[in-house]
């Protein structure tokens, strides 16, 4: 029998979970900043800003995240930088998250009726003033449910960083499996931990969406 108790396995998995959570938070926060910038560029009046943003979004949405991780991991070292896995993981995830959030939020901005743009323009507001005071506050409300929903994708995406050697929940699972020879138990618990992280987010996204729909119907 293996000298590891089930509790040893769970404890070590939970320790590694911190890194999954931390990486998720970094990716999400960083991605949100990138997405906001991309959103402004995407809806701006500058044609090249728009085109550049579309290219960025298509590129990151149109290729596998695993390839993006490999490219950052190996690509940056090509420039002579010694890239630790956590840095490549964070950068790739931030840009990946940013691309998706930018598209989700653009949908929300476009859901705001044209009249709101026209009315604020007729009040002599600049583009940024329109965005800041009229459009974004309204778009924010409808953006919450899909944004929370996407955070689930971010948490799950962090699992891929194990492949470039970042030690989080998935990598820890593999390492513990190699030590305990209990893959069924280890991966089973890892799945349950991921579920415990993701399911509340999924559920709250659903509930928020339902609440928003009800609010809309009351109008």
């Amino acid at each position: 029998m293996s000298p590891f108790t089930t509790w040893d396995i769970v404890r070590n998995l939970l320790l590694a979970t911190q890194w999954t959570v931390l990486l998720s938070l970094i990716a999400f926060a960083g991605g949100a900043v990138v997405a906001l910038a991309a959103l402004l560029a995407r809806t701006s009046r500058n044609r090249w800003a728009r085109r550049g943003t579309v290219f960025y979004i298509e590129l990151f949405q149109g290729t596998p995240l695993l390839m993006q991780l490999f490219l950052f991991f190996f690509g940056l070292s090509l420039l002579g930088l010694n890239v630790p896995p956590w840095l490549a993981a964070a950068v790739a995830l931030i840009l990946w998250t940013g691309a998706f959030l930018a598209e989700i939020w653009r949908g929300c901005v476009e859901a705001i009726p044209r009249g709101q743009w026209e009315a604020s323009a007729s009040l002599a507001q600049s583009y940024f003033e329109q965005m800041r005071y009229v459009i974004l506050p309204q778009a924010l409300r409808i953006a919450v449910p899909p944004t929370v929903g996407f955070s689930v994708q971010v948490v799950k995406a962090t699992a891929l960083t194990s492949i470039i050697g970042f030690v989080e929940l998935s990598k820890a699972s593999t390492m513990i499996t190699n030590a305990t020879f209990q893959p069924f138990v280890v991966y089973g618990f890892a799945a349950l931990i991921y579920f415990a992280l993701c399911w509340p987010l999924s559920k709250s996204s659903q509930l928020l969406e339902r609440k928003l729909n009800v609010a809309h119907r009351r109008h």
Binding site: G62, T63, P64, L65, L66, M67, Q68, F70, L71, F74, G75, L78, L79, G80, V152, K156, A157, T158, A159, L160, S162, I163, S170, S173, T174, T177, Q182, P183, F184, V186, Y187, G188, A190, A191, Y194, F195, C198, W199, S202
Partner: protein, 224 residues
């Protein structure tokens, strides 16, 4: 720049990539078909199937949608042998991907089914069709047509996700890139090439799904 790019070094490995592309295509096509079938079955259960099994389908869908594919794959490939179910890497990859796609497809298709106008059910009923006949001949096709774009996107996501299968030694595109960079130490070039291959396959897949839609749904407009 310390090191220049050299894509010429990849030319010798073209057959390796070709094999990888074939495997990734095989995975995607097989999984697309089986996953869609599973998704339709689960969506039927969740909307009009036997009430006793509905909770089980819900649990399956929630479990899959809230855990990473990597863990699902490792659980199936490494974990299941512990309880006596041993699968080869290709079988494990296909099973994991089908189970994964099935859950997402279930939710997507369910939305399409729920958008069916009530009149369609009433007309079918007045023509003496059973519930199952109604689902099969009246509800299903327009429902799929409504959600075809979402289904296409999900299939692309599943194809991108298949890159992970290289981790259990499925010899797909990513496996090819890993193999090549371990031989010629040109990691960046290898992964750029792999990325471009995925990009091209995604475009091809979307085009293929559009053409399939033309065959499956001769009517462009989904009426009301």
């Amino acid at each position: 720049m310390a090191v220049g790019l050299d894509f010429g070094a990849l030319a010798d490995y073209a057959p390796v990539f070709a094999k990888g592309v074939a495997v990734t295509c095989e995975l995607t096509l097989v999984v697309g078909g089986l996953g869609l079938a599973l998704g339709i079955l689960c969506a039927w259960v969740r909307t009009q199937g036997p009430r006793v099994i509905r909770p089980f389908v819900s649990i399956y869908v929630e479990l899959i949608r809230n855990t990473p594919f990597l863990i699902q794959l490792f659980f199936i490939f490494f974990g299941l042998p512990a309880v006596g179910v041993s699968l080869g890497e290709m079988e494990a990859a296909i099973l994991a991907m089908v189970v994964n796609l099935g859950a997402y497809a279930c939710e997507i298709i369910r939305a399409g089914i729920e958008a069916t106008p009530r009149g369609q059910y009433e007309a079918s009923a007045s023509l003496a069709m059973s519930r199952l006949q109604t689902f099969r001949y009246v509800v299903l096709r327009p429902a799929l047509q409504r959600i075809w774009p979402a289904l296409t996107s999900q299939l692309v996501i599943v194809m991108f996700g298949s890159a992970v299968c290289s981790q259990i030694a499925v010899e797909d595109i990513t496996f090819a890139a890993n193999f090549i960079q371990s031989r010629n130490f040109r990691a960046f070039e290898a992964y750029i090439a792999a990325t471009l291959l995925y990009l091209a396959l995604a475009l091809l897949l979307r085009q293929g799904m559009r053409m399939l839609a033309l065959v499956l749904f001769p009517r462009r407009r989904a009426v009301r």
